[in-house]
């Protein structure tokens, strides 16, 4: 705030001193008058400001949503209460929006007039620039003088917590998950009856149900269409495995390897949990993280919260991670590995997992695209050939600048 007004203060000081100097030099009374007038106006101005500041009792209530997605614009609502007996004029409210991009974090809103013993509600928008956990605040109120030249600050040490989750893109196609067992925590029923599952019960016919599944006896008895319902074996298990390596975090800003991995992991988590799959996370982000297998929205929330805060602080390679955590990967499950192409050789470590009936789905980021743009196509082919010949895997590739949503469609 000082930076906004310092030029004006210097200018005013120069004018006051110049008036005095010229007055002394020339003896012309008007310059003395000008000097006295400016000096007394400034003094009166300060006196006014000081009275308002010392008598004011201001209270601030700050509300923002506690979660948002990257690039989402959220609305912050602030209630300013003037509990003092003097009305307030030219009040400026300052909020430190830490989730905004650098240079836009200080939000200042001017309030022209707040009558005594009353409140004013204001709201302003804030763009969540990058994933993370943020403490929004502190807020401060600036009391300005009538000439709008000087101010006094009243700080409020209030903070609001905000989680900015990575942006989740829609996945249209993903390899079929073929491995999984019935977990202990419940039975899911199919909303469309049929398939090769066990009989579960009957229910009323809904549009879209196949005619062959109508239970004619029950329909006749109840005089309405009844269909047979089956329980579905949909309890696939998947393990998402990745490292956020500090030494291989190529790129700049939002176009970093770290951001791509997190974004893909978030989208996959949302997709798999949305499909009813049980998902566990094994990752290394400076510390080893193991989120046990689970299902449901709460689990997704936990994963997204972890992904919001994950940073490329790890120095552990994929091999080391696999060595350390392979015992946690359940048998008869799917292992989804997100890695850089520089680590494709480490995927050889996944070969022994096949003996435990674990199917591997590699998602590979091409590091060269984060460094330079030459020879991408050639390198892509090389990796594809090598992965297929050695591991019999058909990996999914992600390139910098390419929309990851489209990469899944190509699969």
């Amino acid at each position: 705030m000082h930076a906004l007004f310092v030029k004006k203060w210097i200018f005013l000081g120069c004018i006051i001193l110049a008036s005095l100097f010229i007055g002394l030099k020339t003896g012309i009374g008007v310059f003395y008058f000008s000097f006295l007038f400016l000096a007394s106006a400034v003094l009166l101005d300060w006196l006014w400001l000081f009275i308002v500041y010392s008598t004011a009792t201001v209270d601030i209530e700050h509300r923002i949503p506690n979660r948002a997605e990257e690039d989402q614009i959220i609305k912050a609502e602030v209630t300013v209460r003037n509990k003092g007996f003097l009305p307030l004029r030219n009040l400026v409210l300052e909020d430190n929006l830490t989730c905004e991009a650098e240079g836009k974090r200080l939000k200042r809103v001017g309030l022209a007039y707040i009558p005594a013993a009353s409140l004013v509600r204001i709201s302003y928008e804030c763009e969540c620039y990058k994933r993370g956990r943020y403490n929004i605040g502190p807020q401060a109120a600036y009391f300005f003088d009538p000439l709008n030249l000087f101010f006094l600050k009243l700080a409020f040490g209030t903070y609001s917590e905000l989680y900015v989750y990575p942006k989740i893109f829609h996945i249209q196609k993903f390899p079929l998950l073929t491995k999984g067992t019935v977990p202990w925590f419940g039975i899911d029923t199919s909303h469309v009856s049929g398939d090769d599952d066990e009989f579960f019960g009957t229910r009323e016919y809904r549009p879209g149900d196949p005619v062959k599944r109508i239970h004619w006896f029950s329909s006749a008895r109840q005089n309405r269409l009844i269909v047979k319902q089956f329980q579905r074996q949909s309890f696939f298990r998947a393990t998402l495995l990745f490292t956020l390596n500090r030494n291989e975090n190529f790129g700049e800003g939002k176009e970093k390897v770290e951001e791509y991995i997190v974004k893909i992991a978030a989208a996959l988590s949302s997709y798999l949990l949305g499909k009813g799959c049980a998902l566990e996370i094994i990752a290394h982000t400076g510390e080893a993280v193991h989120i046990p297998s689970n299902k449901g929205l709460e689990h997704l929330e936990g994963i997204l919260r972890f992904l919001a805060m994950a940073r490329a602080e790890s120095t552990v390679t994929m091999t080391e991670l696999l060595e350390g955590f392979s015992r946690f990967i359940p048998n008869d499950s799917n292992l989804i590995v997100i890695a850089l192409d520089t680590e494709w050789e480490n995927l050889l470590r996944t070969i022994p997992l096949r003996t435990r009936n674990i199917s591997v789905i590699p998602l590979i980021l091409l590091s060269s695209t984060f460094l330079y743009s030459f020879g991408t196509a050639k390198f892509l082919n090389d990796v594809k050939i090598k992965l297929f010949s050695t591991l019999k895997l058909n990996p999914l590739f992600f390139l910098k600048g390419e929309n990851p949503e489209e990469a899944f469609i190509k699969y």
Partner: protein
């Protein structure tokens, strides 16, 4: 909203100049109206041009400002360095600058300059205004109000507050301003701001009126004397020596007049009016005495100023490039004008004579100037003598000239130097104390030859530097070309890096985080390059830098052709000034453009 802020701001700024103009209307007669019209046109232009961008606008404004500064310096150079004349010149310069800046007021910095310039103009006004009238008081108050509105406007703009409603509603700043004015008036009434400081350009204490005002006043008084004095003489009924009255009157009003004759005529006329007879009424008598006294005072002042002006003119003609001597002579004359004792006047006159003697004037001109300096001194001494006499007369509560004929004669005798120099021999000077030997006069430093020599020297130094830079640039070019056959990959990389430097000079800087192909896309978009030549070039560069592919001479040839074509296309899309700038900067940075 931003448009509204801008509209109000230029309106307020124009009002500031309008009020400054009201305060300085007397000093800038004739030109003020044109300045204000030009500014109005400038603001209108800015209002319509606010959404557009003019690539060379800053350059044009820069030239305008430079022209005004040069004009102002030339005017100052040809002036007498009188503070009033200097200030008027500078104020005209400030108005000219403001008119230029008003055309660029759609840029924030120019608008800020304008507001500061208006304040400078207003701060000059007290030097010229002796007695404020209602319109000037109102102008000052309105000017202050403009600043209050401006501060409010800036505050609203900064914190995105609706501007019109707030500006109308919030009267608190005006309360502070009025309270400040009241406090100031309260303190000022008991405050004596009279300081006895003076000298140099800022000498302003009891400053003399402008010559034109003095001439006007003199001619008015002359008419009055010619009309009223004969009537009064007739009314006195004094016939004894009535024939001397026209002679006195003639000597008194004659232009320019000799000091002795003027002094004698004044004393004679006063005596005639005061002597016995029917006489005029008591009040009329006083009025007549005052009229004659004022007329003689004005005549003395006018003659002093006229001679001063003549000396200034002659000095300017003779010492065009010798600012120091001109300034010293001006200072001596100013000090002579403001001296309070005869000794001081004599001292300054000696200085002036010395300066004239030291200057490179011809013998005729020097004699003429010295005569004028002598006259200047005599008129000033005459003034001083009269002031002393009137002061003592006031203390004795009587009119000095009317005491008696003998006293008048005595006083007349006390002004021996009032006799024209051609008619008298100079009185013997009192013995002067021994002074140290005077150093020979210094030759003027600033003359045309030295300036021209300096200019050519600087020009030749510049040419030598340019030559060296050109040779270094050519060397770099040959270094690049030496790779043409020897190492095609290195040649392509060097060409690309050189191209990046040239583009940086033109304003398309490549950040370290931007990949070559992305940069190529940006450049092609910016300079409308068809068929993506820069992308092809960048691909070749990437291939040369990051792959092991062998390159041949034909690759070098193709890339060199591509490079020169790209440069040619880019330069064709630029204006002449931009290309000139690019060539100059490339030369300074030793980057070859075409290879």
């Amino acid at each position: 909203m931003q448009q509204r802020y801008f509209g109000i701001e230029i309106l307020v700024t124009y009002c500031m100049f309008l009020f400054a103009g009201i305060l300085l209307a007397n000093e800038l007669t004739g030109s003020l109206l044109y300045f204000l019209i030009a500014m109005a046109a400038g603001f209108l232009f800015s209002w319509h041009a606010k959404a557009r961008s003019f690539p060379y606008f800053s350059l044009v404004v820069g030239f305008g400002v430079a022209a005004v500064i040069i004009w102002s310096l030339v005017e100052l150079y040809n002036s007498d360095f009188g503070y009033q004349e200097t200030l008027i010149t500078e104020m005209r310069g400030v108005f000219l600058l403001s008119a230029i800046f008003s055309f660029g007021s759609f840029k924030e910095k120019f608008l800020s300059f304008l507001q500061i310039l208006s304040l400078m103009l207003v701060m000059c006004s007290p030097i010229f205004i002796k007695a404020y009238d209602l319109s000037q008081y109102l102008a000052i108050f309105c000017y202050i109000s403009c600043w209050v509105l401006f501060l409010k406007l800036k505050f609203c703009q900064k914190f995105q507050m609706p501007v019109e409603r707030e500006m109308l509603k919030d009267y608190h700043p005006f309360i502070v301003v009025i309270a400040g004015l009241l406090v100031t008036v309260f303190f000022f009434l008991g405050f004596s701001g009279k300081q006895e400081i003076g000298g140099g350009l800022f000498y302003a204490k009891d400053h003399p009126p402008l010559l034109s005002d003095l001439e006007k006043k003199y001619s008015q008084l002359q008419d009055k004397v010619l009309r009223m004095v004969p009537d009064s003489l007739i009314k006195t009924g004094y016939n004894q020596d009535i024939s001397s009255a026209p002679l006195f009157l003639n000597n008194l009003v004659k232009d320019p007049g000799l000091i002795k004759e003027v002094a004698r005529a004044e004393v004679g006329l006063v005596s005639l009016l005061r002597n016995a007879g029917l006489g005029i009424e008591e009040n009329q008598d006083k009025e007549m005495m005052e009229l004659i006294k004022e007329f003689v005072d004005t005549k003395a002042e006018l003659n002093f100023q006229k001679i001063k002006k003549d000396i200034q003119r002659k000095l300017r003609e003779g010492l065009l490039f010798n600012i120091k001597q001109r300034y010293s002579a001006q200072g001596a004359m100013n000090k002579m004008e403001n001296s309070k004792s005869v000794e001081e006047v004599k001292g300054e006159a000696r200085k002036l004579n010395k300066i004239i003697g030291d200057s490179n004037f011809g013998p005729e001109q020097e004699t003429q100037l010295k005569k004028m300096a002598e006259e200047l001194k005599l008129w000033r001494i005459f003034r001083l003598h009269r002031e002393e006499v009137y002061l003592s007369a006031k203390e004795e509560l009587r009119y000095p000239e009317a005491v008696s004929e003998s006293q008048a004669k005595q006083e007349e005798a006390q002004v021996p130097k009032a006799v024209p120099p051609e008619n008298i021999t100079p009185p013997p000077q009192p013995p002067q104390p021994e002074t140290p030997p005077v150093l020979p006069p210094r030759k003027p430093i600033f003359n045309l030859t030295i300036i021209l020599l300096l200019f050519f020297f600087l020009l030749s130094v510049l040419l030598v530097i340019l030559m060296i830079l050109y040779i270094m640039t050519e060397q770099r070019k040959s270094r690049i070309l030496s790779l043409y056959e020897a190492n095609s990959a290195a040649f392509i990389i060097s060409l690309y890096l050189n191209m990046k430097d040239i583009l940086a000079i033109l304003g398309a800087r490549c950040k370290n985080t931007v990949t070559p192909l992305k940069f190529a896309g940006v450049v092609e978009d910016k300079y409308h390059l068809k068929e993506s030549p820069f992308s092809r070039f960048s691909l070749k560069f990437e291939e040369a830098k990051y792959s092991q592919h062998p390159f041949e001479k034909k690759d070098s040839q193709a890339v060199l052709q591509e490079y020169n074509n790209i440069i040619k296309d880019i330069f064709n899309s630029q204006g002449v000034l931009s290309v000139f700038y690019a060539y100059c900067t490339a030369l300074v940075r030793r980057k070859p453009i075409f290879i």
